[in-house]
Amino acid sequence: MTHVPLGRGARQHAPRLEVMLSAGRLVLAVFFVFPLVWMFLSSLRPAAEIFQYVYPFGLWTVLPRHTTLDSYRHLFHDEPFARYLINSFVVAGSVAVLDVAASSMAAYAFARIRFAARELLFFLVLTVMIIPFEAILVPLYLIVRWLGWVDSYAVLIIPMVPRALSVFLLRQFFLGLPKELEDAARIDGCQHWGIYWRIVLPLSRPVLLSVALLAFQEMWGSFTWPLVVTNNASMRVVQVAVATFGQGDAIQYDKIFAALSLAAAAPLILFVIFQRYYVRGIATAGLKG
């Protein structure tokens, strides 16, 4: 076995133990990833084959014997899946952008400006982090209904901004920026807007990306709120579409696999590209929380 460099706190095991450990790691990787791979592979099967080889278990249980894009064609031609995906992109993208804007502004003030009621207002934001969204589902629904927002992008986007967690993470990061930068900027005649816009934001690009990615991913996956406040198919997001897919009809597994794959694809692709930023955001949230 090749010798691998060991990380902090890790130890050199007896070779046999190391082999067993590696085997265990791989088995676990299969456990976590295989269901997703199987889902994608199954979405490529023709309708007739979907459950044909599932029982008894064999090679074709895993791999599709024939491949086709029929189920995807069906979703895009005969069902408004393109619309669902666009809705999800619009909602998740808008929340990410608006959240980064509102949260970074607030976080800047909380971290960098002394003002009366600062602690109180920050405490207010933290309180909302603890309040479970599920507990305000009913009154929030009544409020947006009264506003006439049911079945609109506004209802899916605006109540989701800001995310208290984003304010918290960004404040934490801004607190760590060196004070000297600000002083230098002030000598150059910058006011807070200038410092925020020209110094703090450019320095914070990685953490802003983390926050935006977390917001996008969470909003892309959000389900309960869209389920409650949208009735019209034109406003339906992809998660709600998937969850209610084929309700009442005979179950069409080939289409379900394709629909699940479409609902899973966007965050997975973003994650693979921007992994580092995700991980950093979550690790900070966990440690500092």
């Binding site: 130890r11 269901p35 278990f57 509102a102 607030a106 003030a109 207002l121 996956g221 899973a264 440690l287």
Partner: protein
């Protein structure tokens, strides 16, 4: 000490701009976070049905109805049972995963990504996928069960298996996050401690129990409380897979709340239920605050 001229002016201006900075966020928090809580209390004192423009005032009767509702108690019991299954599972899984992917080799970094994948896909997708995997009687997992010459299982259609299976599914979906939190905790442990332990001849399990585990105590507390709170908010997989069944065996608090509010349009009753949920979760958060604080002063 004499203040420089213009002190007041210079101090005032940034202060005013601070309120502009926090305005959008604070407005959002007030309108969509704080106001609904207060409004929920008002709603819980009335019989809201969305039809009657003047819902009748019923005082505390919704709360009395809650206390007398057997399904509420079933839901509370199910939710507690779910938390008792999920929290140990997910904490152990997260810690276990963190320990085995701690070495910084490249292929192990790939595994870390692999374990984290289910976190990234949505809860709906995870639930929908598990529903198919555990389909009965001829689903993929039953096909594996058959390899072991066991009879096909009912899985999500069995009142005894459904809730534990949802806990396993949630562990599959979320333990990547717990792993990450533990990983960052493991990296905080000073290497010297392990070296010292090595000299004293402590290895393997002994080293884990005498160094790693005690030093991760704070993180474990945090993970346990956060996961407990998450467990009490469980809804999506129940909606997607079982709709509270079979025989209410997976009816959890939020599902009961959702059904009362948006199927039966008992909005007043559902608001009383919201308060029960809120107090439960605030209680858990208070415990977290207290535990972590206590720990710090020691």
């Amino acid at each position: 000490m004499a203040l420089p001229a213009g002190w007041l002016v210079r101090r005032r201006r940034p202060e005013l701009s601070a309120y502009v900075f926090v305005l959008p966020a604070v407005l959002g928090v007030l309108v969509f976070g704080i106001a609904p809580i207060l409004y929920a209390f008002v709603v819980s004192l009335h019989n809201y049905d969305l039809v009657n423009p003047h819902p009748p005032f019923v005082g505390m009767r919704n709360y009395a109805a809650l206390a007398a509702d057997p399904i509420f108690w079933t839901a509370l019991r199910n939710t507690t049972a779910y938390a008792l299954m999920l929290v140990p599972l997910q904490t152990a899984a997260g810690l276990g995963l963190a320990l085995i992917v701690q070495p910084s080799a490249r292929w192990i970094a790939v595994l870390r990504t692999a374990y984290f994948m289910p976190v990234v896909v949505s809860y709906v997708v995870a639930a929908g996928l598990w529903e198919i995997l555990f389909a009965t009687p001829n689903g993929p997992v039953n096909s594996l069960v058959a390899l072991g010459h066991l009879p096909p299982q009912l899985f999500f259609q069995d009142p005894r298996q459904a809730l534990p299976l949802i806990a396993v599914m949630s562990t599959w979906k979320w333990s990547g996050i717990t792993m990450l939190i533990y990983l960052s905790g493991l990296h905080e442990i000073p290497l010297e401690l392990y070296e010292a332990a090595e000299m004293d001849g402590a290895r393997g399990a002994r080293r884990f129990w005498s160094i790693t585990w005690p030093l991760l105590q704070r993180i474990t507390l945090f993970v346990v409380v956060v996961n407990t709170i998450e467990a009490f908010k469980i809804f999506t997989p129940v909606y997607v897979i079982t709709s509270g069944g079979p025989m209410n065996s997976t009816t959890v608090l939020v599902f009961h709340l959702f059904r009362e509010a948006f199927r039966y349009v008992h909005l007043g009753y559902a608001s009383a239920l919201s308060f029960a949920l809120l107090f439960l979760i605030l209680g858990l958060a208070a415990i977290q605050f207290w535990l972590l604080r206590e720990d710090r002063s020691e």
